[in-house]
Symmetry: C2
Amino acid sequence: MLSRIRIVLVQTFHPGNIGAAARAMKTMGLSELVLVNPREFPSIDATRLAAGATDVLENARVVSHLDEAILDCVQVVGASARLRSLPLPQFDEPDEMAQAVVQNADHAPVALVFGRERSGLTNDEIRACTHQVSIPANPEYGILNLSQAVQILAYEVHRAWRKRPESAFAYQRPVEATPPSREQFAHFQAHLGRLMHQSGFLTQPHARTEEQLQALFARAEPSRKELSLLRGLLSAFETYLPPDEK
Amino acid sequence: MLSRIRIVLVQTFHPGNIGAAARAMKTMGLSELVLVNPREFPSIDATRLAAGATDVLENARVVSHLDEAILDCVQVVGASARLRSLPLPQFDEPDEMAQAVVQNADHAPVALVFGRERSGLTNDEIRACTHQVSIPANPEYGILNLSQAVQILAYEVHRAWRKRPESAFAYQRPVEATPPSREQFAHFQAHLGRLMHQSGFLTQPHARTEEQLQALFARAEPSRKELSLLRGLLSAFETYLPPDEK
């Protein structure tokens, strides 16, 4: 599905932006890049800024007119810094745009179109789109660098994709985080409670204090290993405490 | 509130990334930049890539150790490409992180900490944080450029901020989009309906076809001006149609 989402850059001036855009795409699982009449491509600067995404550059299509880039697309979203008075349907929020795009890309190609660094897209180019989107930004300074705009919209597309149940996106998890069993946890709580009394910290049966500290440790969600460290620490204290009188 | 959100860059190697990060910050309403032991700063490259955000660079603080950058913060989120086995609370999703950050920044400074381009943050630096976040990405190539990571997390912070009712964020709206009154719209629907019959398009009272086309135009949400253009077009057709027999 992500492979049906095409990034189209129109008349990009700085080849570095092409490279940075390719990298931005690849980090977000996108691979289809089309360049409409780029000022300079291929380019050492593009390759350099692409870092590990030079394959995206190598597979990029170069065309001379926007139409050639989007003919087969069922949805074409023009990214504009400023919404024009042209009455195209517009997405106020990139996340709404991304949900629509991801849904359409299940079936057919969809394009996100970005314009020139200084002047964006022409009115004719916007007219070739089905929708507009702009990235809400600081009203005093809202012009993002081209490759940054690509990164954000690619990120939103990836986000819309991974939030679907069928994407089965696996979040990274550190390896050592096995939780303890309830029995192990209960042993710890009991050990802690016992030492609260033995140390004279709780002279009365102060159920609230005991509960509060136990809740703290519960909230901390210690791993099995951490619990073991805590028990070890409690045992080290215990050697110095007077024996339990109860 | 956004002014209490601090971006901290640790030992950045490429001054261009510092400039691009400053620009990314400013587009998202952030202004507090702290540089921990940058390799080269100030720098022509930083200034150039900052574009219209050179004020952020001018106001940036330079310190020699991470602690100095975050002492007064109530929450410090370390951005890592790879989550470490260090059992810091982690945010799987930048949007969850942003909601927490925006809430805390109502009251006190909060920092987002980014590491070196190649090696990220050291374990000690992660330990100085209260939380970790990573940007979910392509498992085959998930290392974003530093300034791109700053752009995305800044964007998420801005998004969390603008989705709060009290932010009163105003979306751009093109100026000419006044909707028609219900009366004007009803006149149009009636005109359209009449011409569907006069043209012989509907030989029977085909309520469904008439409704379907009327629904299309309703869904299109024509502006007052567009409705006027449509009426003009219908009138132009009308001159050639046989008179209404009903």
